[in-house]
């Protein structure tokens, strides 16, 4: 089945994003995820190339093997065939801050060119227009996981020059800043959007275009970004999903709770 790629038009952008996220997880890794796309991506990884990956949810479910789709990170569904069900100090403290988490998988309302993330306020701190859900475990995850994958929608107002509020630390203001601040984790490594994948330049720690999704141009990415980003000479197209991946993905979320099926979106 390997490299048996699906054809354009046979998959949705959300499906491609989930596949990108899944592929960023290596076999045997400990993956710390929230509900929604990160959960689906981690489940997909575990059922394809990474059967030894362990999925951890901050509410306390460890090495979860959920068979049904959860709506909350504290959802009882995540307890199915888990290896442990404990609590927040276990997952965020002992496991994550203790150095056992390879990949943290998060969303973002705003991100800047150093991968810093806002999930708290839109507008000013004093008089916010919107009060977002807040850090939750997000700051903890991005502070301490060995690397971070961000999944989010690519919009100008979300990829910003300056965050309205810095909830979770990317590379702060550049090289060495995380270390200076005393942070333990490795920081963001991949941003998966509906337009492209971006990573971070090892020297400058600035965000960099990695691949563009099929049908998307570099110019499209530019026009939908509020920040500058590094554009390498050669920007490949994102590798398509395989039939294997797509079939398993659709079996994971058969009712399209997080990823509506193409026929459901039409």
């Amino acid at each position: 089945m390997k490299n048996n790629y699906v054809k354009l038009g046979e998959f949705t952008t959300l499906e491609l994003m989930a596949v990108c996220g899944a592929r960023a997880i290596k076999n045997g890794e400990v993956v710390f995820v929230g509900t929604g796309l990160p959960m689906i991506a981690a489940m997909l990884a575990k059922r394809t190339h990474a059967p030894k990956a362990k999925i951890v949810y901050e509410a306390g479910f460890i090495d979860s093997n959920a068979k049904d789709i959860a709506l909350s990170i504290a959802d009882s569904r995540l307890g199915y065939r888990a290896s442990a069900a404990i609590g927040l100090i276990e997952t965020l403290g002992l496991m994550l801050q203790g150095g056992h988490v390879d990949v943290g998988f998060v969303g973002a309302a705003q991100i800047d060119e150093y991968g810093n993330i806002n999930t708290t306020y839109i507008g000013s701190f004093e008089n916010p227009t919107v009060r977002l859900p807040g850090s939750g475990g997000g700051n903890d995850i991005i502070s301490s996981a060995k690397r971070i994958i961000v999944i989010m929608t690519h919009e100008k107002r979300k990829m910003v020059k300056k965050l309205d509020y810095l909830t979770s630390p990317g590379f702060l203001d550049g090289p060495g800043a995380r270390e200076k601040a005393g942070l333990l984790g490795g920081g963001p490594s991949l941003v998966v959007t509906n337009l492209c994948q971006m990573d971070f330049d090892p020297q400058t720690k600035r965000i960099r275009l990695a691949t563009v999704h099929p049908g998307v141009t570099v110019q499209d990415v530019k026009e939908n970004s509020g920040f500058d980003f590094i554009i390498p000479e050669h920007v490949p197209t994102t590798e398509l999903p395989t039939y294997d991946e797509l079939n398993i993905l659709r079996a994971i979320d058969p009712h399209g709770i997080y990823i509506p099926r193409p026929d459901q979106t039409k």
Partner: protein, 303 residues
């Protein structure tokens, strides 16, 4: 020879709510959709409590109701939303009105603040929050956190202040009448939170004989020594979930979310489901036995 005496700490939901004076500080248990003390939230609304401060990691519809009804004026927390659906509608409105203020921490920071309070130390060390606005910006605390240099390693460490609220409120799976509580599935931050309060109220799906607890003492999550009051509260987290007991009622939650998008809608929900009913049993009757029975957990699944 005298037999060991089993103390009876049972009170009613109404009595529990009465204990909580206006202006009190509460640890509020449950995490996300799991085991929120919903029945007590409703009763606090019915008793028109005001000006409470709530400490929690992440909560949802329960604290949105408490905000909507002007019961809570301050939160110290890490997260709120109606997960998987959207932003918590009432809290949004109350923040804009200035009726609710939030001091932001992370989930780990809040959980450690409860652990610190429970341990009797004034702070706990942490490696989150560094370099961010969570450290730089304070809403109403005079000292929200402090960065120190570790005397052993020289590294930077954040100290977060411990919390010892007036009351800790937790909803558990089962408890005996002297307060030995078991929690099935995940514990969230309830183990620490339950030990942080000056007074502790345990609400439970069922009250069991102490012999059941004492036949497996290693299953006890909260021992009697910490607990002051016990409340029998079946379906007490509805429309949210309790592991091994029942699933959430997403239809009801979505209806709540849609309706509360407007103040009028919220007022209507509040009257229909909370203030116009006598107690939680009446609320459950309104929901209907049939609907509840469909939500009961189907073994071996915990939902």
């Amino acid at each position: 020879m005298v037999e060991a005496e089993v103390e009876d700490k049972r009170i009613t939901l109404k009595e529990a709510a009465k204990l909580i004076n206006d202006g009190a500080h509460l640890f509020w248990g449950g995490f996300g959709f799991q085991r929120p003390p919903m029945a007590l939230a409703h009763e606090l609304v019915r008793q028109k409590k005001r000006n409470l401060t709530i400490y929690t990691c992440g909560s949802e519809m329960d604290i949105d109701i408490l905000s909507g009804a002007y019961v809570v004026s301050r939160f110290e927390l890490a997260f709120y939303a109606i997960e998987g659906i959207g932003l918590a509608p009432n809290i949004q409105r109350r923040i804009r009105e200035g009726a609710v203020q939030i001091e932001d921490y992370t989930n780990l920071a809040m959980a450690l603040r409860f652990l610190g309070g429970a341990l009797g130390v004034p702070f706990m060390p942490l490696k989150s929050m560094l370099g961010t606005d969570l450290l730089a910006k304070t809403r109403f605390r005079s000292k929200k956190a402090e960065v120190i240099t570790c005397p052993f390693t020289g590294e930077k460490v954040v100290l977060v202040p411990s919390v010892r609220p007036d009351f800790s409120i937790v909803h558990v799976s089962r408890v005996d009448m002297e307060g030995n509580a078991q929690i099935d599935g995940i514990k969230g931050e309830d183990v620490e939170g339950a030990r942080a309060g000056k007074k502790v109220i345990v609400l439970a799906e069922e009250i069991v004989d102490t012999e059941l607890i004492r036949s497996q003492p290693d299953q006890t999550a909260i021992p009697n020594i910490y607990v002051d009051y016990v409340v029998e509260s079946p379906w007490g987290a509805y429309p949210m979930m309790v592991y091994n007991y029942y699933d959430y009622d997403m239809e009801h939650v979505r209806m709540y979310y849609q309706q509360c998008k407007t103040e009028e809608g919220w007022q209507k929900y509040c009257e229909e489901y909370i203030t116009s009913v006598e107690d939680h049993t009446e609320f459950l009757k309104k929901i209907g036995m049939e609907r509840l029975m469909k939500l009961k957990a189907k073994k071996p699944f915990p939902y």
